[in-house]
């Protein structure tokens, strides 16, 4: 598997971003929260790399940094051989055609005052891809591609259900025929029966258009169905990264194991989900491993020294002293 690695489309190098933490009624800045704390990751062309983590792990921030929708503090993002974080705005605009985003919230991600036709066709208008009539025709095609009727063009987003809105968001994202799409929890606010429809649609589009996905999610069972590689994030760092089957069959990092074991399996005969130690009340020491206080296999070294992400075997990377 690892021998025939495909061409790398996106390469993230030591990316960092922190936000000020404010406290008290004067909102004094009392420190900085490292939302993304030195992440390096490579995304191969035509594949899906999943970024998994819980609330506050920094996965959404990472997705936005990669698209330069949020300025990074430091680090690099290489896309098709160009470093995009240092690109001047004029050149960035052209690059936008090749990278797109699909958001989690199908309600907040569509402008309530624009008709669906305008929303889906906006990119085409910005880059002047044809006349008015040509764009209208293209919008119809796009809507058909995501399974919506042409009449949808005339309606406003609030006239659609959550799943249909997500289809509108997908049509908008593929309109410019991008190479790379960041899918930020695209199915986590949808019902299960609808979730499956959207996941299938994303797979079909990937096959048809040769898309590369960075798929951000918190649900490991969803990720298993769509990802080729999986990266697990915890408190701003990637703690484990591997091809899908390896990660699910032999998870190395204790956090990944906790995550997998916590999922309730829809089978009454299966073992009940384990409940790990409760989350700590206070932050751990800065120096040690960020998972220290919740870790079932911690040793003294973990408190003093943070483990770096290192290759354990055959492209399987983990950040833990005990593997």
């Amino acid at each position: 598997m690892e021998a025939d690695r495909k061409e790398v489309l996106v390469s993230i190098k030591d990316l960092r971003k922190s936000f000020p933490v404010q406290k008290g009624w004067l909102f004094r800045t009392v420190g900085r929260l490292n939302a993304v704390d030195g992440v390096s990751l490579e995304i191969e062309k035509g594949t899906t790399t999943a970024l998994v983590g819980e609330t506050g792990s920094g996965k959404t921030t990472l997705g936005r940094l990669v698209l330069r929708l949020l300025p990074a503090d430091s680090g690099q993002v290489w896309f098709q051989g160009v470093e995009i974080l240092s690109l001047p705005p004029s050149r960035l605009k052209n690059l936008r055609q090749d990278m797109q985003v699909i958001f989690q919230d199908p309600y907040g991600s569509l402008n309530p005052r624009m008709r669906v036709g305008e929303i889906v066709g906006e990119g085409l208008r910005i880059f002047r891809r044809g006349s008015r009539a040509e764009i209208a025709e293209k919008v119809k095609e796009l809507l058909a591609k995501v399974g919506l009727p042409p009449s949808a063009r005339e309606l406003y987003p609030h006239e659609f259900s959550g799943g249909q809105r997500q289809r509108i968001g997908i049509a908008r994202a593929i309109a410019l025929r991008p190479a790379f799409i960041v899918c930020d929890e695209p199915v986590s606010s949808l019902d299960v029966s609808i979730q499956a429809q959207i996941l299938n649609l994303l797979s079909d589009l990937q096959e048809e258009m040769g898309l590369t996905y960075l798929f951000i999610a918190h649900d490991l069972s969803v990720v298993e169905h769509i990802a080729d590689r999986v990266a697990v994030m915890y408190r701003g760092r990637v703690v484990e990264e591997a091809v899908r089957d390896r990660l699910y069959r032999q998870p190395l990092h204790p956090y990944t194991r906790v995550l997998i074991e916590s999922i309730p399996v829809p089978d009454p005969a299966a073992r009940p989900p384990s409940s790990a130690r409760p989350a700590p009340d206070s932050e751990d020491s800065e120096a040690g491993c960020s998972f220290y206080s919740r870790c079932p296999i911690r040793v003294d070294r973990c408190r003093e020294e943070a483990p770096a992400l290192r290759e354990v075997e055959g492209g399987h990377r983990a950040a833990c002293w005990e593997v």
């Binding site: 996941l199 299938n200 918190h218 309730p264 829809p266 409760p278």
Partner: protein, 328 residues
């Protein structure tokens, strides 16, 4: 076994200028003492409104327009509001999906928990405080005594749900209704809360009505399950049966569309189509537009819940007949 809570033919409707619409249109189920019933369905199916009806806390202008809700033989639907106040929190308690918004941000945790205790029990402030500490310990909140003075925003989502749980069990209710109690939480926290719910149910000998959309949770935490679609129960049976031999096509579709860990398949099977608005309920079987088995009869006549197996009921014309009753 004797039934603790019995819901029969429950109907909830919201009057509107375009005509009343009924998000709950005939729901029946029973909750046995000490058992957990999972009420399962997708958003808009009426499961939350069903739960709120039991406490008579429907958002206006919603009203219960038909049916009975018997709690130990007393019909809660016709009970005067004055009597109902004594039921809420004391005999039937509820926790919600959003632990962020269910707590009042301007009062301390201690304040709110003691308030909940003193609402139904005539005890002194000091005694209530001691009881609050006990309760917070019971739900595994570390350093419970110190944390009484903290405000809700100083608690994480999981900790807030624990506080809600502490308040809910403060009067040792007979029935605890948990409406998507872990949906807003991370999966590791979810596992902790579900474990806690299970332990408390056993220790306090409560019955649990667990409203959820997650079939994983159903499998792990319930004894019996009722599947809702468009305001009706379409199938109900002991939990293992729903995974072994689901009788209703909707249940089967739901089970097929759930991504399962370790069972990766090329394509997930989705239920085609969308859930219609409850104001546009299809004629006949309300699932027929999305059902692959639907025929003329399904388009015309509405199926009712019928026995298809041992304490297994389904509302489907196409459901297999009860085993052992086949003539021939």
């Amino acid at each position: 076994m004797e039934n603790l809570l019995e819901v029969k033919g429950l109907e909830v409707s919201f009057p509107s200028p375009a005509g009343d619409f009924k998000p709950v249109a005939g729901v029946d189920f029973v909750l046995e003492p000490g058992r957990t019933l999972g009420l399962v369905g997708e958003s808009g199916c009426g499961k939350t409104l069903t739960a709120l009806s039991i406490l008579r806390l429907l958002p206006p202008p919603g009203k219960i327009t038909a049916g009975k809700i018997n709690l130990q033989g007393v019909d809660l639907v016709t009970l005067p509001e004055k009597e109902m106040v004594k039921i809420r929190g004391a005999k039937v308690a509820m926790i919600f999906q959003e632990p962020m918004t269910s707590l009042n941000p301007v009062f301390t945790i201690g304040n709110q928990v003691t308030e909940a205790i003193r609402a139904h029990q005539r005890i002194s402030r000091a005694a209530a405080r001691r009881r609050a500490v006990e309760l917070l310990r019971a739900v595994n909140i570390p350093r419970a005594e110190e944390r009484l003075g903290d405000y809700p925003h100083q608690f994480s989502g999981g900790m807030r749900q624990r506080v809600m749980l502490a308040m809910a069990i403060s009067c040792r209710p007979l029935v605890l209704i948990a409406d998507e109690p872990t949906t807003a939480l991370d999966v590791t926290v979810q596992a902790q809360i579900m474990g806690l719910l299970k332990r408390l149910r056993e220790e306090l000998a409560m019955s649990l009505l667990l409203v959820t959309h997650d079939l994983g949770i159903v499998a792990q935490a319930t004894d019996r399950v009722a599947v809702m679609y468009l305001g009706r129960i379409v199938e109900t049976c002991p939990t293992p049966l729903i995974f072994q031999s689901p009788a209703h096509p909707y249940t089967r579709g739901l089970l097929r569309s759930v991504p399962r860990l370790g069972q990766r398949i090329r394509r997930l099977q989705a239920i085609e189509g969308v859930v219609p608005e409850s104001s546009l309920r299809p004629r006949g079987c309300s699932f027929h537009p999305r059902c692959e088995l639907a025929d003329e009869r399904c388009r015309e006549a509405e199926p009712v819940l019928e026995t298809v197996g041992d304490s297994h009921l389904a509302a489907c014309h196409k459901a297999p007949p009860p085993a052992g009753k086949t003539d021939g």
